[in-house]
Each structure stands twice: as structure tokens, then as C-alpha cells.
Symmetry: C2
């Protein structure tokens, strides 16, 4: 792989930069300094410059980074081709919020399929997706869907992960606070609201 | 501040370590090596050792880290006193999922109040919290609530943030993909599902 030396922490920040660049472009900006981008993404300027240096420096002194060029490079590194498809498993409160989420668009993602085991939900149309029976997960590979979002209760998260892996899914975004285990070739990213909330008191002066 | 030299990236990982340590303790473990903890938290062992070195090394060669002691130290650094209270604004799908979320407990958090502007939701009891009219946000300071979670549609996120700041809130967990601006003394942490999903394709080999 061409970019294999980029640290995971830098990879974690690249989508955040991409979102900041998209916001700046919407405001009509064409170039940006690391200092201005820093304000947008809450990452210090030196860190931004260091992160960008891993894949070549696109900045021009006194002018800054060209927004269109930099965005293109980041998308290329992240392998963010347009039309990436994801499936959602679990259409409860959280799953419904995911289906309604507007933030995926700037990355070219679509949630293309949704699954649940509740007969009252199966067949229901939410946005542009119809909820399917969870037993249909095995159709994902032939539909070209290799990413999935797990938003089921924690007791069933592992079982769902196993089905997804069996269905050929290569990447999982897991909202369950429970740890799930998968074969090494499958990448799991866990979102735990609590770990983010738990950082806040550090920054709040004691009263 | 005693620990002011700890990088933000280390602070970001501390709650993740704490969750891993809690899981290990539940399994009856009393000590853990950086290698075993690494498996639990998906952070490389060298990074774990480096992070812990910022606040003194609690590990013993060949034995590892004492789980109870290390957990106590991390909680102290993060200022995670038991009984931290948070308020939720926006009781839609996402807000309801937050109220039902079990993951806050290991950090000693309680969501103590919930607000919405929808008359159909106001007065409704969800879990142990009754939904209050959004105009009651100004009662937060006197109830000792200094942290809030924003789960409203993105068009109203800034307005809600302004009200929270006026109500004396010092830390905000923001689920809106829109950027909100607050005075420097207030800390905002943004959770954007999309930035996490956008990292997945990097780790998925192209087919």
C-alpha cells in the first residue's frame, strides 16, 4: 500500500479535515492556512501541518493550502470513492437517527439497506430505505455492500457482527458499548458516546 | 493545573482505557499488561505505555498495571468524580437513544434532565427523567448541571448552544454535524458519526 506509513491517529483526523474544508468551500474560500483550518477543526496548526506532511506538503507559504486539491488528496488516501454503500442493522431510536443523519453526504456515503428483527418495522420505509428482515443480511455481498453500522441492543451485537462477517462485510461501525470480536481482516470502529462525554470534566474547572 | 502537560490526544484515550479496565475487572482480572490492554482498546501497546508515562508509570515489569490503582488515577486526572450530572437537549430519536444508553454508568455520569420544545414530549417520562420545556434551560446552574448534550436538528444547534452557555453550562457534547461557536471558556466536543464511518474504507481492501 502506498500510504501505509500514515499513523492511525492521522487517518482518524483526515475526515475531520475534509469536513472543515467542505465548510470553508461552502463559504466560498479557495485556500486556507493551517491556522484558519485549525479554528474549524479544533486541531492545533502544528498537528495539521504534521498530518499533511505524511502525504506530501500541499501548502504554499503565505497562501496556504488549496482547498480543492487538498480535499481530493485526502479522499484518495481514505479511499473515499463516490457511491460507497453501507448497511444499517437495528432500526430503533439510534438506527433511525443514523438513517436521518445528513452528515454522511460530504463523504459520498449512502446508507443503502436497513435490517431489523421486529415484524412491526420490517417493510416500513424510512427515508429512501425499506427495512428488511434481518435474515436477509446474507444478500449484502452480492449487492456490493461491504460496510455496516451496528445499532442493536448490546446483548445481540456480537451475533449481528458474526452474521455481517459471514455476509462478507469488511468494515463495521459499532455503536454498542460492548466489545465485539471479529476476524483480523475485518475492521471495527466503535463509537461510544460515553467516552467522549467522559473527557468533558477534564476541561471544566471545578466549582 | 497539575496535569496540564498531558496532550489532548492522550486525554481522548483515557476514557477508552478506563472502559477496557472496567471490562477486565468484570472478568475478575486484577492486573493487566499493556499488550493485553491493547487488545481490549485497539490502541498499540507502545502508545498505551507512552500515555501512562505522562502521569507516572504504574506498571511493574512482568506483572503489569494494577487495574484498581490505574483506574483510580485515570478518574482523578479526568476529574471524573461520582455523580457528574448532564442535561440533554432534544428528545428525538437520537436524544431518546442517549437517554437509554447504558455506557455512561462506568464513568459515574447521570443524564439528570432532558429538554425539548415539542409540547407532545414535554412532561413525558423517559427512563428516570421527565422531559421539560426548553425554556427551563436557565435552571441548570442552580441544579448543579454544568454539562449538556445537544441532540437537536442542526438548524437550531447554535441557538441551543447559546442558551446553554447563558445558563452557565461549561461543557457541551454536540451531536450536530454543524459547527457551533461558543466562548473560549466553554469546551465543546463534537461527535460526528460520519467522520468515523469515513475512516472505514481506508482499512478495506478495494475489491
Amino acid at each position: 500500500m502506498r500510504y501505509s506509513k500514515i499513523p492511525n491517529e492521522t487517518i482518524r483526523r483526515l475526515p475531520i479535515y475534509l469536513r472543515g474544508l467542505a465548510m470553508l468551500a461552502q463559504q466560498g474560500e479557495r485556500s486556507v492556512s493551517s491556522g484558519k483550518l485549525a479554528d474549524f477543526v479544533s486541531v492545533p496548526p502544528f498537528q495539521i501541518r504534521k498530518d499533511f506532511s505524511y502525504f506530501g506538503d500541499f501548502g504554499t507559504r503565505g497562501v496556504g493550502y488549496d482547498i480543492a486539491n487538498l480535499s481530493r488528496q485526502i479522499k484518495k488516501i481514505l479511499n473515499l470513492e463516490p457511491g460507497h454503500k453501507a448497511a444499517l442493522v437495528g432500526v430503533g431510536n439510534l438506527g433511525s437517527a443514523v438513517l436521518a443523519y445528513s452528515g454522511f453526504r460530504i463523504y459520498g456515503f449512502e446508507v443503502e439497506a436497513a435490517f431489523d428483527n421486529d415484524p412491526a418495522k420490517i417493510g416500513k420505509k424510512i427515508g429512501r430505505v425499506s427495512v428488511e428482515d434481518i435474515s436477509k443480511i446474507n444478500t449484502l455481498a452480492r449487492r456490493g455492500i461491504m460496510m455496516a453500522i451496528i445499532a442493536v441492543p448490546e446483548q445481540t451485537a456480537q451475533q449481528v457482527a458474526d452474521s455481517l462477517v459471514a455476509a462478507g462485510v469488511k468494515g463495521i461501525l459499532n455503536f454498542s458499548p460492548k466489545r465485539i470480536t471479529v476476524p483480523k481482516k475485518v475492521k471495527v470502529i466503535t463509537i461510544d458516546f460515553a467516552t467522549d462525554l467522559a473527557r468533558l470534566p477534564y476541561y471544566i474547572p471545578s466549582s
